[in-house]
Point group: C2
Chain length 578, copies 2
């Protein structure tokens, strides 16, 4: 990002208000609030019931162009825009964002609280345990995993007499069908391929994923209330029995205990921006094998209290935004009023043919000097994402996240191309360096977009066969010519229809670095067939996820990890987190 | 325990005060308090500094006879006694207890918040995540584990060029010497014996322990402040290099990040008893491979605020109390004024020759009908534990935790035998059924004991050779005739002296079901030689732990786990937790 002071320094210099004051100003009744220290609080679900009759505010989703590996500032834009609306334009505005995984914080990535002068604070809390929700997901996920292996072991040990002795049915889980992995919120590559129960006949190969990849996290994000979460957890399918029938968390009688473990995690976390506007931080499901959006419950509460709710969807419009529409909105019943498409000149230059952008390497001069040709060519990627938003029936506002090295001519060119592609508006934004003041123009454009006609509609009905739903997304969202299935995927597809999972929405699992399935294909790939390697079902969360390529669900630590710089100083303050 | 209403029902019917009110009444300044909802708060370490000049209150440690597998009510006594002192006898009294592991709550054990009318509340919070401290320990432990395997993998991949490329020294960890395990707070037997990194040349066998068995938990419990915790984490030894030198968390440059992960966990958690007296809940290290005592920091804060601090030590006097004296008091510099030895008629009958007591089975009539002969014989066990307390130089008060089926004659007999064995007093207590009112006599006896002459002293100096320290504990605390070392243990002993660990105190790892190393030997085993199978070092926490027998560090789930009864009801309330 631009060269401003370090995010941690800015965050620490900020003048925070007590969270009770933020809550009061935002219309959150003190009775709904559960403090976690002075600057964090959970909002309990009494708020939902008490506010049920209020009309909803405007619902704005933030998405982006296909990013470089550095990211293009979508969280910063979400925070910055909410600061502009709430602190500069006289609106009641909430930002709703995902809780970041702690693993990458100690690996390579650093924090994810926004950045510069558009951050959610205190940033240490945001990037570390917050109020423990991810830990609760870990606990619930792993209790279910332990239940599976313990049940197999006891059924094996007691044999035919298992039911007689324990009064429970023989589940007869087929170990080769187990899809439930254990999870930890740490980058631990050594856990990608492990063998467990090596001291018992039920020994088997399995793996750990990072916690945010757990289906439990997706359930938390998609649940509409506590009872709905309880039902979804019970529906989680962990394996098949030897007769090919689905085995669920309910069958293992563990869904109730999992709900108890998540009874506080279901309450959204209230924090504040650097400009003292409210932020709800809640849930952080993976953006590829899950839907990559923050929670329905947080959005629902915020919509009752705010004029504008700015919610972020993971990755670009082909992924997070499409899933926001077809999965999150499907389950919430909510309809977005507008989408913000964040872009950078840098990303468009990369799509236009610029050299590879790699984390930790200095940028090629193509990115630091004016190059209108690269920008012009790369605007096709922006146009494609605007098209996705338009196809869903809502207005798109392009936010050009401006860096100091970008020239006026480059920004102007992006603006023209965006408008030509059907954007309602396209404006430059400097909220990273200037906070909400840098996003006032963006805020006005978003307010205007929300007054435009809204023809939001889904691209596919749930009753459509699974293959056709996948084909619809591949063609109409990605621009693929067709889709292909491996033999395995085709068998799974048939099996899922038999098991009754056919009516679920689709959650595409593909790379975020290309609109296609191939991360090397930049800009707007054409004439490609999307290959579906495998199909999996998150029946509890409520979606089928086709795997198009290898999905990395457990990151590793680099040779010089970020944790080597993280410590406390003599005053007990955190250093090295950024 | 006695037949009263369920613990959860009693806890829920209790009239709780807001935690800020409990804090105010206990003399905890509002500035030191970090709320976690309405009924929990963390007390930050500003309290320690602000109160440094105040004199300490009386320090009472609660221990017990060798228990049956059902436990004899030590936590209940700790809570009940603090209720008696604080709510009935006009004293400022704090209870300081360990945070229980969540794993067993869902396995077989149920909750551990005390019981009946002597509980720490809200009991759901106490038994579940509380404020996330155990999760923070999990995260810190596993970040270190990931750092070890990632470092080995990168050193393997880069080979000779590792230092040149990354600027870090080649640690050259010998994989066969790694003693650092991963941890989870779940009963997951399948993780006792696993193989990791199966997709890499650094594949190796390892295991998960339950989180409370982590050395990080012991560090949390023994740290005297944040800087001391930072130092201890850095000193943790995880392996040896191929030259036989110790490899530490500091060598891996991860101790700073671990400290950051634990920066909130180091703050004790304030809760309340059913009678609105203050409880500090903090840390819960394993009682066998670690020292099994709550935190030094919680005790230090409480002693500045209270007339009486009642702190619990794990297991019986041969284990938790001995370690309280030789490890916790050694590092804290604090001195206990008296010890309470909790006993039941049931436990003494078992020691006197009664049939085995097993969880989940109904008790033999020997335990439900008067049997003075069994009680009389079993009082030798009580006398032995009184003797341990006396040998440490402080007065012992015996609390006879009375059950409805115990007869007056049985209780009277226990009382006489206790006094004959040198107890300062011995009284019956009915705090389970009656709350603090049932422990008023106990409270008066404890107050009187605290006024007696105190000759507290350690049984061994740190400079004594490791083998002699172990022999001293075996002979003077357990009554063993001698100790023996396996060849492996003898080699490790020599190695530890060379590595400079020789001056650490000893933390015996043995069964809690016998004073000896053999759980089958009840009452007072005689003429036994204590076999030391293996030696390990928790250099960060600060002790050597000799293993005398197999220690179970990862429990399993039974064939019908407790979690099958745990759920939420229609009002969203937890059911089935007890």
């Amino acid at each position: 990002m631009q060269s401003v002071s370090s995010d941690l320094d800015i965050a620490r210099a900020a003048s925070l208000k007590p969270i009770r004051e933020i809550a009061r100003e935002a219309g959150i009744h003190a009775d709904w609030l559960e403090d976690y220290g002075r600057y964090k609080a959970k909002v309990n679900l009494d708020a939902l019931h008490a506010l049920a009759d209020r009309p909803n505010g405007r619902y704005v989703v933030v998405t982006a162009v296909t990013p470089t590996p550095l990211g293009e500032g979508k969280t910063v834009a979400t925070i910055g825009l909410s600061q502009a609306l709430g602190a500069h334009l006289g609106q009641r505005a909430f930002a709703c964002v995902r809780q970041p995984s702690m693993g990458p914080t100690f690996g390579i990535k650093g924090g994810a609280a926004g950045g510069g002068y558009s951050q959610a604070v205190p940033m240490e809390d945001f990037n570390l345990h917050l109020t423990g929700d991810i830990h609760a997901v870990t606990a619930a996920n792993n209790l279910l995993a332990a239940a599976i292996d313990a049940r197999m072991m006891h059924e094996h040990n007691y044999g035919e007499r298992f039911t007689e002795i324990t009064g429970q049915p023989h589940l007869d889980i087929d170990p080769d069908t187990i899809t439930w992995n254990r999870v930890l919120d740490v980058n631990d590559r050594a856990l990608r391929d492990i063998e467990i129960s090596r001291d018992h006949e039920t020994r088997r190969a399995t793996r750990f994923d990072i916690t945010v990849a757990s289906e439990v996290m997706a359930v938390l994000a998609l649940a509409t209330d506590l009872a709905d979460m309880r039902q979804r957890l019970g529906r989680i399918v962990v394996a098949q029995d030897r007769a090919g029938q689905a085995v669920t968390a309910e069958d293992l009688k563990v869904a109730g205990a999992m709900t108890v473990l998540l009874k506080d995690a279901i309450k959204p976390n209230l924090m504040q921006t650097l400009e003292n506007t409210p932020v709800l931080v809640h849930a952080g499901p993976f953006g590829n094998i899950a839907h990559g959006n923050s929670s329905i419950i947080a959005d629902r509460i915020a919509l009752k209290l705010a004029d504008y709710v700015i919610t972020e969807a993971g990755f670009a419009a082909d992924l997070g935004f499409e899933k926001f529409c077809h999965i999150k909105c499907r389950y919430s019943g909510l309809t977005p009023d507008a989408a913000v498409v964040v872009t950078t000149v840098r990303a468009l230059k990369m799509h236009g043919g610029g050299p590879p952008v790699k984390p930790g390497r200095s940028l090629d001069p193509a990115y630091t000097r004016e190059n209108l040709q690269l920008v012009d060519a790369g605007c096709a990627n922006l146009a494609h994402h605007i098209g996705i938003v338009r196809r869903m029936g809502i207005p798109a506002v392009v936010a050009i996240n401006r860096f100091t090295e970008d020239t006026d001519a480059e920004v102007q060119l992006v603006r023209e191309r965006a408008l030509a592609a059907g954007a309602h508006d396209a404006v430059e934004a400097t909220h990273h360096a200037q906070g909400g003041a840098g996003a006032v123009t963006l805020g006005r454009a978003v307010m205007d977009a929300c007054e435009q006609p809204n023809r939001f509609d889904f691209l596919y009905p749930l009753e459509m066969p699974i293959a056709d739903k996948i084909r619809t997304i591949a063609r109409r969202v990605y621009g693929a010519s067709d889709i292909s299935f491996s033999d395995k995927a085709r068998q799974q597809l048939d099996r899922f229809e038999v098991l009754g999972f056919g009516d679920l929405p689709i959650c595409m699992a593909k790379t975020h670095l290309s609109i296609s399935h191939d991360p090397a294909l930049k800009n707007v790939p054409a004439d490609f067939v999307l290959p579906v390697r495998e199909l999996r079902a998150s029946v509890g969360a409520g979606f089928i996820y086709p795997l198009c390529g290898e999905m990395m669900t457990m990151p590793g630590l680099p040779s010089k990890p970020a944790f080597t710089n993280i410590d406390i100083d003599d005053q007990g303050q955190v250093i090295g987190l950024h």
